[in-house]
């Protein structure tokens, strides 16, 4: 059964990485370039086997590639970044070429919960962590 990118996730490619934001949990996730390739292909029609078939690499796939892909998809599931179950409404979207000459495991390389006030002490007056408030 395929997975699809969840509707509550916005995403953009930045440099070599793909950046996702879960709009409900307020978390940002960063995927490596390999992860970005698989993320792009998550249209509900593909699972691990379909992804493996789509890879055209200079070198043969290493042992354990499917395990690494499945682990990556599981990470996405656990982070509630993908939906499972529904059949795709449309034909699978075409995939770009794998961005690397050899297989690199897809990985979620960074995540961070974001907050309404970042790390700022603006609005916090004199209490810690603000050392100085010139208004008092």
């Amino acid at each position: 059964m395929g997975l699809r990118r969840a509707a509550h996730v916005a995403w953009r490619r930045v440099g070599d990485e793909t950046v996702l934001i879960h709009l409900r949990s307020k978390k940002i996730f960063v995927l490596n370039s390999s992860g970005g390739f698989f993320w792009h292909g998550l249209d509900g029609a593909r699972g691990t086997e379909e992804f493996l078939e789509s890879l055209t690499l200079d070198d043969p796939l290493p042992d354990g590639a499917s395990v690494r892909i499945e682990a990556f998809l599981q990470d996405l599931r656990q982070a509630d970044l993908v939906d499972a179950g529904a059949a795709p409404d449309e034909a699978p979207a075409s995939l770009p070429e794998f961005p690397l000459p050899t297989f690199v495991p897809p990985e979620l390389v960074w995540q961070q919960e974001v907050r309404n006030f970042g790390q700022s002490c603006a609005f916090m007056g004199t209490d810690p962590p603000c050392a100085v408030n010139p208004t008092t």
Binding site: I21, G118, A122
Partner: protein, 284 residues
């Protein structure tokens, strides 16, 4: 006509938070004087597009730990979506925000902290053109500027002080993207004055033994910047909008890790090392 009598006593004050103008109304003139002490430099004439916050003091006593009515008192904030806005509650205050009519009614003890608790959520929602960033903003006479980001203690205020008259703010700045590039505007926190600058770089600060500037890839710039943004966490559409701005800023504005020693030559170093991008920044 009690309502007319009440209105006659209501005073107003308007302040600019970047390009967001907020008009405060209250019969509590003491409360309005607190606003004036904090935001005086950013006082503006009321505009038709102003967002209006009406403050109605309640008889609830001030928290015992509050040193002065201007001091901080953080309370857990509960936010409930409404048809055209939000109802925001804390232990001692309540705020009804109507985004459609651009009005809010805030009720709480006569102190600044009820407003602080609302503003830290409201300002990122109202600033639809870009991001609010935990940063100092320093500009030069030609109107080009540098945003210096980092958590408390990273050196924002130190760097702003060392810029002498060039610093526009030392805690919080607004950023937006225009055709000609990224613009940053000073916000009234804390040592600040109104002003704006075309951004030529974003510096992510840390203290060091000497000045050292390391260019960042957009991917790394994004990770640094994401934690310094004030996110409009109540609103998914606003979160998506802010996310788009974040990625665009990370890609379009040169960013650096900057460790520095607090010496008088630090801005000479920055000005020499951080020049304008070789090509104009064009918004997509």
């Amino acid at each position: 006509m009690p309502e007319v009598a009440e209105d006659r006593e209501v005073s107003q004050a308007s302040f600019a938070f970047g390009e967001v103008c907020i008009k405060f109304e209250s019969a509590d003139r003491t409360w309005l004087s607190y606003l004036d002490r904090r935001y005086r430099n950013f006082s503006v004439a009321s505009r038709s597009e102003s967002f209006v916050v009406r403050f109605e003091p309640t008889s609830a006593p001030l928290p015992p730990s509050l040193l002065t009515p201007l001091a901080a008192h953080l309370e857990a904030v509960h936010c409930e979506p409404k048809a055209s806005g939000y109802r925001v509650r804390t232990e001692t205050s309540q705020c009804e925000i109507d985004l459609r009519s651009r009005r809010a009614i805030l009720r709480g003890p006569s102190a600044m902290y009820p407003l602080d608790n609302v503003l830290r959520h409201l300002l990122p929602l109202l600033w639809e053109e870009g991001l609010l960033v935990h940063s100092a903003l320093v500009a030069d006479a030609a109107g080009s500027g540098v945003l210096a980001c980092g958590p408390s203690g990273a050196g924002k205020s130190t760097l702003a002080k060392l810029a002498h008259g060039r610093a526009l703010s030392d805690e919080l700045s607004a950023v937006k993207l225009e055709e000609r590039g990224a613009i940053s505007l000073a916000l009234p926190f804390w040592v600040s004055r109104p002003g704006r600058a075309h951004l030529r770089a974003i510096l992510h600060l840390e203290h060091g033994a000497r000045h050292r500037l390391e260019p960042l890839r957009p991917e790394d710039a994004l990770r640094r910047l994401a934690t310094q943004v004030l996110w409009p966490v109540w609103d998914e559409a606003a979160m998506a909008r802010s996310f788009a701005y974040l990625t665009e800023l990370a890609e379009k504005v040169p960013a650096f890790d900057f460790s520095f020693a607090p010496t008088e030559d630090v801005w000479d170093f920055i000005d020499k090392e951080v020049s304008w991008p070789s090509s104009p920044i064009i918004r997509r």
